[in-house]
Symmetry: C2
Subunit: 273 residues, 2 copies
């Protein structure tokens, strides 16, 4: 079996078992001895923040992050303002649930002008920093795979994420390293080194060929081509020793028995992370 | 209508009308007044090199490139040698058909070790350069979108392609800029500038959301999010004024009447390139 230290860092990113509501996911973590959970906001919304907070507190589970803020680019000023407002709610939720990490999926461009969209992301983050700081929450920019550049995020490399993060203090803005999004990057290990002191999370899954679906096609660790263990060692060398989220967005897992999924998650985590 | 100069650069990349054999594609180009064609090797194989050469020569069409060499990484030395050999055949075919451009799709890794695969690509190209030079053929490295890093090419950015190309002379190794593969890249315009004097081709299509299929999901120019015209101006500023290949890999187009497809190609090229 894997070492205890590694297992003590395991976090269930809630989207992996999206068929569970928050109470069920928390119970699942307790049953399978998973010490951390990453909570998605649509799950908080189902039952309200107060009830979500009570479930987390009663469980004793630690929250590795809230998923997600971001989605900054917008076509109008009004929309832009609404996005900022929504991010403020996300910051409050993170603080209430006891995590200092808000994951940012930065959003797609409103039109073909990707440069402007990227600027809007940068500006949106700058606007949020003081608010997040008041709540003790760090903004964690997650670069998304370039195949999501048109529909999910215009921030597509660790280099880009660090360029934005470095405009702020390390206790204000950092980055998430998700193996699925960054494994292909020729500059990956240089950029992980550069991100020392700013890595706020490490997410794992795998890239399997052929991919069943661009969005819902992530694989269990060990089933694909990603050098997960090498990447874990790299983020550790860059000073990250926090929770490791297993985030697998996959329709087949959502159709399966979530207890079996969690069992599989633990096994492949122990073996391949 | 678009200016004549732009129309005189239009090249039909043969995969766009894959339902046509070489003779049919050539006839189609003549009928629709498309002055260039990019020939795929599986089409040459169908009828043999001699017959292919005759068809091209009789038509008076100009050949913008041969698609494709590459596929360097391999699990064994024997396989590696076979790949090099196949590339030599591709070089000979390019020379015979009267083009100086062989497009390289560099190939996926044989295992999880992507660094070694990338080194194999670099070595394979170095081995081919003298042979290609003897035939007056340039090796054109086409970076493929990072979503193809696991199954088609470990060369995924223009930066990577230029890093390899710059180890050789500009008349030996260059790069292809295909809008579909590089549009998302935050360093794109810097890298196009850097590639001045080494750009050996410009390929167009579009990225439409949602994408019907990762491989066969490219869209007609103007249907997606790519700033095609901006990119054309950038490669021109970097000194490229050669043929522009329309390369749209799309099942719906293959199921359509290829004459209608070519008509559509000309219209959207005139409007959006």
């Amino acid at each position: 079996m894997a070492d205890e230290k590694l297992m003590s860092r395991l976090s269930l990113n809630q989207i992996t078992t999206d068929q569970w509501n928050l109470q069920e996911a928390v119970d699942g973590c307790l049953r399978h001895e998973v010490p951390w959970i990453s909570v998605w906001r649509h799950k908080i919304k189902e039952i309200g923040l107060k009830q979500s907070k009570k479930i987390i507190q009663d469980s004793g589970l630690k929250v590795s992050s809230i998923c997600r803020g971001g989605m900054f680019p917008a076509a109008t000023k009004k929309e832009l303002a609404e996005r900022i407002d929504d991010n403020k709610r996300a910051i409050e939720e993170a603080a209430e649930l006891g995590t200092d990490t808000l994951v940012l999926v930065c959003g797609p461009s409103a039109d073909r002008d990707i440069d402007t969209a990227r600027k809007q992301v940068e500006n949106g983050i700058a606007e949020l920093v003081p608010y997040a700081k008041d709540y003790g929450v760090k903004l964690a920019i997650e670069p998304l795979h370039p195949m999501f550049a048109a529909d999910r995020s215009v921030i597509n490399t660790l280099e880009q994420a660090s360029n934005i993060a470095e405009k702020h203090q390390p206790d204000e803005v950092g980055v998430i390293v998700d193996v699925y999004h960054v494994w292909w990057d020729p500059n990956l290990y240089l950029e992980i080194e550069r991100a020392e002191g700013r890595i706020l999370g490490f997410h794992v899954s795998d890239w399997k060929v052929p991919m069943p679906d661009m969005f819902k096609g992530r694989a269990m660790m060990g089933e694909g081509v990603i050098e997960i263990n090498r990447m874990r060692k790299a983020v550790e060398a860059a000073g990250y020793h926090g929770p490791i989220e297993v985030e697998i967005i996959n329709q087949a897992l959502w159709d399966a028995n979530p207890n079996d999924v969690l069992k599989q998650v633990k096994e492949s985590y122990a073996k391949h992370v």
